[in-house]
Symmetry: C2
Subunit: 101 residues, 2 copies
DNA sequence: GCTATACTTCGATCGTTGTCAAACGATCCA
DNA sequence: TGGATCGTTTGACAACGATCGAAGTATAGC
């Protein structure tokens, strides 16, 4: 896990941006799938139950990361995504649980 | 309070639609202001701290109502809006609290 | 070095949406 | 009945955003 792509600090995460990021069926789905595991998960298209191109999924990862919902790790050619549970819980307690319930 | 404008039944409220409705700064603001009172509140522009036209606010009330977030009552020339707290709490427990906190 | 791999970025398309002014509809009241 | 008021709807426009294929970038492995 070489480096981490740029992402907002915990205090810089904005509620409107988070809601905008969650307000898309594809992103909500991948966030749900991310929430079922605790370790980082592969970024790749095959790992998710969505019917879009790799380019589009890449766009969604960026939106989620820039909104502060996920962390992306780069490891060679592979990328890994992880939900920022703690940061989100600290910033907006209960929000993620309510959305994913 | 003559009639109530059409709105989705509790079971028909969708999470993505609710998130889309909340993911706008103006709508989030008026929802916040609505949440500070328990009775229905006036629909009129002067009653809210937003910098838009009456036509645009009217559009936002429609989006919120159709998403299932609010109920609109018609009484003569006046309209009143109310947060659907119970329906939202039943459908997505904790969501509204988390968003408004 | 070369080539295959894994994902991103670019450029373009096209539907969606936030916005306003103007027109409209309904209601109240003199 | 005729205005004035309150709010919606319509029509138009610009900005945004989801999407894709193609080109680009970095890395692994030979």
């Amino acid at each position: 896990m070489a480096r981490t792509l740029p992402q907002p600090a915990r205090e810089a995460i904005e509620i409107v941006t988070v809601l905008q990021a969650l307000a898309d069926p594809v992103r909500l789905e991948v966030i749900r799938e991310l929430s079922t595991v605790t370790e980082p998960r592969s970024c790749s298209l095959e790992a998710y139950d969505v019917d879009i191109s790799a380019a589009t999924l890449s766009h969604h990862w960026r939106v989620l990361r820039e909104a502060g919902l996920t962390t992306t790790f780069v490891d060679g050619r592979r990328r890994w995504v992880e939900l920022r549970r703690d940061d989100l819980q600290a910033r907006f307690p209960g929000l993620l649980d309510a959305v994913l319930a």
